[in-house]
Structures are given as structure tokens and as C-alpha cells.
């Protein structure tokens, strides 16, 4: 695929980064259609069939003013942009350590293209940075290094509204825009992870000292693991966070009332915490999952009975109902919604072993869809597959069930125990819990290749990842 030429003059797309972590766009010059809904089936996921993977060089950005703060921020933008582009594997990114010796060019015309060609580059991303008020602008152009017209500009865009104190957010925005414009790809550079960590290790309130009881709290981070921060502080056991469709709220399971219940929080503002299922020691609720229309939460509950059922409640606490009421001897657990919100997949032991089933969102039409020795933790991706945990232990693997082909394929390589998958909103990456490096940590691998293991967490024991949708604008 070649880039389509884009002229800068007259078509400036500005982006305003507000004080909140999430950027808010200005309206562009000229008529603007709303972005089309993501159509992931149009993406060609098979790297082998894609054809040539363009090779991209990305040197440090030029800072004509020489301003030290701006230069430092610009360096972060370039590094993070390189990593974001490398993440999706749409391009082969020439390592910056290799290209660091190429003398910098002050303008695109001054680029020493032959030096870049020697490193194998097809294109060079030339960026320059200048302050505008208390923000800065990145002017990014893609210059052909070789081919029919070396030196020609293939892509050009100005990104406004970056701030000195948040260059990573600037780079993430640029990466997603660049992927969308040049490859038609919905990137995930602006998404977040949520997960559980015991790294603060506070004693549970009221637990005897000779009992186990170190707290586990909910943390969030950028998708690449940067900016990890805690969002609960109740010194108790908190697990299983799940992002809302607008990526601004979380439902999670907590024992802070003495029993499992699901809680809604809004880490970026937007209202007080709530308990929509109104749990008690008679009705214990856990493992909540937001519906794609953000109106309902499905969860597992064992309202005083022997076995858990799948329940659903509206986010405001109304409409509480049991979707699997006639299964008193079976354990139905861990619901996940289909992307169109019409179905729920879940685990059930009604066959004697833990398997994955599917039903309509109103509880009708239950059918078994996966039959393996032991399956758990289904997560429905946007790409016609369900990721899940395979195996009865002691080691588990991440597997995917292809809904179109009806096939199960193991994705992880058998090192350590791997489970609790969560899929990125473009379906190309899966976050999961793994013991391959010792204690449980959060890792990411690519789909469909199962390659490119990335370790997200370091401190403490970390589990239950949830990958946010692309943040709402």
C-alpha cells in the first residue's frame, strides 16, 4: 500500500489537549463527517497476505527554537511515537539506535536520504515542533527516501494542543491518527489498561495478623504500561475491573463490605461511586461486565443459593434480573458481551466440566460453543473470536475460539500459566495474566500471531487485566 498524498496547505487538523488526560478535538476546517463505525472485518489481519510492510525511519524531531523544555518533550514524543507505530506492526520501524548517527536535518529538503536508504528506509517521518502559547504543535511529514520520487512528501499534518507536561499523550494521538490516515487502521495508542495489584500491600482492615490478608487494589495505566496509578484505596480485596464503553468508568468486584459486590467508579470524574446490584451477604455479586451500549452490567451472583447464575442490572440499579434462573445445580459464571450487545458468552459447569456457552442477552437460546478439557474467562473480541483461558491446570494457556470457523487455537506458548484475557478494541492484541516471569504479571501478545510478548507490570503481583475501548471524545 502506498501513502496517499496529503497536502498540508489549507487543511489543518487541529487537536486540543485539555487539562484532563483525554484529548478533545477541535472541529476541523471544512465539512466533517462523523468517523465511520469501526468495521474490523475489513482489516486484513493476515500479515503474510498484506504485501510489503513499509520501512519507516523516525529521527528526533526538529526544535527550531532550541528551547530546552520543548526539546526534551519533543524527544519523548518521537520515542513514544516510534513505539506506538512499532506496536501495530503495520510498518517496520528502523531502530532509533541505528539511525541516531545520521546527522539531523533542519528541513525535509535537507534530509540525507541516502543515509536513510542505507538503513533500509522507504520513508522518513520528519517532525518539527514549535510553541504556540502554552502548548506546542507538531508538524509531521512523511518523505519518500527512495522509489519513483525520492524527497516527495507523502503525508503531512499538523497536530496542535500538545502540552509540555504530557508529551506521551501527544504521541499517542499522532500515532492513532497516522495509522488511520495511512493504513485505515484503528490504533489503540490512546487506550488504557486496568488491572489488580497487591504492590501497596496494606493489611486488610480488621483481619487478624496471623491470617493472610494483604489488600489488592485496582490500578490503571496507559496501554503501554506507562503512568500506572491506583484508583481504589479501600484496603481490601478488589478484583476484576472492567472498562465502560466510553473508557471513563470501571466496574469492579470488592470485598470491602465483607462479601463480594460490584462497584462502579469514575476515575476521571463524573459522579460518585455506586453499587448497582445492591449486594448483601445473601446476594453476592462479582465479575461485572459492561454492555456495549453502556446501559447494563452483566455479572455473576449467587443470591443465597448453591450455584452462581448470570444476572444483569441497569447501570442505575433498576432492572435487576437473573438470566439463568433455572439452573440451581449448575455454576454459571464470568459473563462477556458480544460486540453488538445481543449475546452473552459465559462459563457453565452443567456438562460436568467448566465450558463456554452463549445465550441471547435476555437469557434465551443457551448453547454450548466451546468443548475443551476446561475453559474459562471468555472475552468476546470485536473480531469474531472469543479469547479464553484453556486448561484445568496447573498451567493454563490463552486460546481463541474463531466464531466463523468454529475452531480453537492456542495462542500462548506454554511457558508459565496464562489466563484472564482481555482484548484490545481493534482485536489485534490481547492482555492477560502470566506467571512466565515468576509471579503473576500483566502481559500483551498480538493476535493472530501470538507473538511479541510485552511485559506491562513489574512491582508486586498483578492480575485481571481489562483493556479499555478507545476513549470517547
Amino acid at each position: 500500500m502506498t501513502f496517499r498524498p496529503t497536502l498540508i496547505a489549507g487543511a489543518v487538523l487541529g487537536v486540543l489537549f485539555a487539562a484532563t488526560p483525554l484529548p478533545v478535538p477541535l472541529s476541523a476546517v471544512g465539512p466533517q463527517d462523523p468517523p465511520p463505525p469501526q468495521r474490523p472485518t475489513q482489516l486484513d489481519l493476515s500479515m503474510g497476505g498484506r504485501g510489503y510492510q513499509p520501512r519507516l525511519g523516525l529521527p528526533d524531531f526538529v526544535v527550531p527554537s532550541g528551547d530546552a523544555d520543548l526539546t526534551a518533550a519533543a524527544r519523548v514524543v518521537a520515542e513514544v511515537l516510534w513505539a506506538d507505530l512499532d506496536f501495530e506492526k503495520e510498518f517496520y520501524m528502523i531502530p532509533r539506535a541505528d539511525s541516531a548517527r545520521i546527522p539531523p536535518a533542519a528541513t525535509p529538503l535537507a534530509l540525507p536520504l541516502q543515509s536513510w536508504v542505507q538503513l533500509g528506509a522507504d520513508f522518513v517521518l520528519f517532525g518539527s515542533v514549535r510553541r504556540i502559547g502554552d502548548r506546542f504543535e507538531v508538524d509531521l511529514r512523511s518523505i519518500a527516501a527512495r522509489g519513483r520520487n525520492p524527497g516527495s512528501q507523502e503525508f503531512g499534518r499538523q497536530y496542535q494542543g500538545c502540552t509540555i507536561d504530557n508529551p506521551r499523550a501527544c504521541a499517542h494521538y499522532i500515532a492513532d491518527d497516522f495509522h488511520k490516515e495511512t493504513r485505515g487502521l484503528d490504533g489503540v495508542a490512546q487506550t488504557r489498561l486496568a488491572f489488580v495489584s497487591n504492590r501497596d500491600g496494606a493489611r486488610l482492615t480488621g483481619r487478624p495478623l496471623n491470617e493472610p490478608g494483604n489488600s489488592k487494589e485496582i490500578y490503571i495505566s496507559d496501554y503501554d504500561g506507562a503512568n500506572q496509578r491506583r484508583v481504589t484505596a479501600n484496603q481490601n480485596l478488589n478484583i476484576a475491573p472492567n472498562w465502560s464503553p466510553d473508557a471513563r468508568s470501571l466496574v469492579y468486584t470488592s470485598w470491602e463490605s465483607g462479601f463480594q459486590d460490584i462497584y462502579l467508579i469514575h476515575p476521571f470524574g463524573g459522579g460518585p461511586r455506586s453499587r448497582p446490584a445492591a449486594g448483601s451477604d445473601r446476594m453476592r455479586n462479582m465479575l461485572g461486565a459492561w454492555s456495549p451500549d453502556a446501559q447494563r452490567i452483566a455479572f455473576a451472583s449467587n443470591q443465597g443459593s448453591e450455584r452462581t447464575d448470570i444476572w444483569v442490572v441497569n447501570r442505575d440499579g433498576t432492572g435487576l434480573r437473573n438470566l439463568t434462573p433455572n439452573t440451581p445445580n449448575w455454576m454459571d459464571n464470568r459473563p462477556t458481551w458480544s460486540p453488538d450487545g445481543t449475546k452473552i458468552a459465559f462459563t457453565s459447569d452443567r456438562s460436568g466440566t467448566n465450558q463456554i456457552y452463549m445465550m441471547a442477552a435476555d437469557g434465551t437460546g443457551v448453547q454450548r460453543i466451546i468443548s475443551q478439557q476446561h475453559s474459562d474467562a471468555p472475552t468476546w473480541s470485536p473480531l469474531h473470536y472469543i479469547a479464553f483461558t484453556l486448561g484445568s491446570g496447573p498451567g493454563h494457556d490463552i486460546a481463541v475460539f474463531d466464531l466463523l470457523k468454529g475452531e480453537v487455537r492456542v495462542l500462548t506458548d506454554g511457558a508459565g500459566s496464562n489466563g484472564s484475557p482481555s482484548v484490545a478494541p481493534n482485536g489485534r492484541h490481547i492482555a492477560f495474566t502470566t506467571t512466565r516471569w515468576g509471579r503473576e504479571q500483566i502481559a500483551i501478545i498480538d493476535y493472530p500471531t501470538g507473538r511479541n510478548y510485552r511485559r506491562i507490570t513489574q512491582a508486586g503481583t498483578n492480575t485481571y487485566p481489562s483493556w479499555s475501548p478507545v476513549p470517547a471524545r
Binding site: 496471623n210 493472610p212 451477604d281 459464571n333
Partner: protein, 192 residues
Amino acid sequence: MIRLHRWLVTFVAIAFVAACSGNPPPAAGPDPTPFPGTPAAPPATPPPPPSRPPEPPRVPVEPSITADPLATMTPEEINQNSPLLPVFFLYDSDQLDDAARQVLSDNAKVLSRYASWVITIEGHCDERGTPEYNLALGDRRALAAKNFLLSLGVQADRIRTVSYGKEFPFDPGHDETAWSRNRRSHFMVVSK
């Protein structure tokens, strides 16, 4: 016994002195009519108070004569070394074996002796199996213990259940010794 004797003597002495002192308590009834000639205004100086018996010698508070520490401990203290013992399970099982049923019978006796105690039964699992599955298995283990106690006559509103899945291992090891210690229903006194 000597202490008890001293208490008795002191008590009798106090009672004796109280019986001989001061005025009897006023009887219920209409106010007494003042004597004729009694001045209407109250006397300028009130009459001296009746002489009081000397304060009894201080006697330190004794522990309860029945010597039952559990009756005075807080729930937190009880849980440090609880008379309610845990029951253990086989892998991936919520079935009670004979040993478990014996422990639960003993626990039921403790609960009938301390009839005000409210307890929580926690279901725990070993590290194998997925965390999601173990959350539900822990619930089944807690409920198995609870249901057996109910069958022995313990009242349902005294027993709460909760599952901790595999989130709180008692033994952090990675062998069957550790795993067998973690597959349990664990008893905690919540209130007395």
C-alpha cells in the same frame, strides 16, 4: 476461697452499716404537712448530712469465676486463636469427608455454647485452576460447611458465607502441602 470470704465479710459489713444509717427512703404519698409554727422560709443553714460509713477498702476486679476467656474476648481476639477450626477439601471439590464433618460437629457445639456468636465462613481454594472458577468454588465450599451446620441445628441468620477464591492463600507455597492447606472453609467470628 479466701478472697470470696473477704468479699462476703465486706458485703455483710456494708449491708449492716447501711441498715443502721440515716433515714429510710421517703414513702410514696402526699407531702407531709409542716408543723404549725414552722417558718415558711427554709432554714438559713441546711441540717448536717447524716454521717456516712467509711469507704470500703478497694478490692481489685477479679476475672470471672467461671474462667472462660472466650466470654470476654473481642471477636478479633477470638479469631487470633479460634475454637472454630477450618475444614479442608480435596482438589476441585466441595465435598465434606468424615474428618470435616467431625470438625463441623465440634464447631456446632461451640456455636451452641456461645449462642450469640455470628460467624462468617470463608471459602478458599488452592492456586491451581483459574481465579474466576475458584471464586465460585470457594462459594460452594463455604456453603457446604454452612449447610452442614444448619443440619445440626445452627440458625441460618448466625452464619454468613463469602468466597475468597484463590486470592488469599494461607500457604504461599507451590506444592501439595501448601495447596492442601489452602483448600478450606475458614471460620471467622464477626460479632458476639
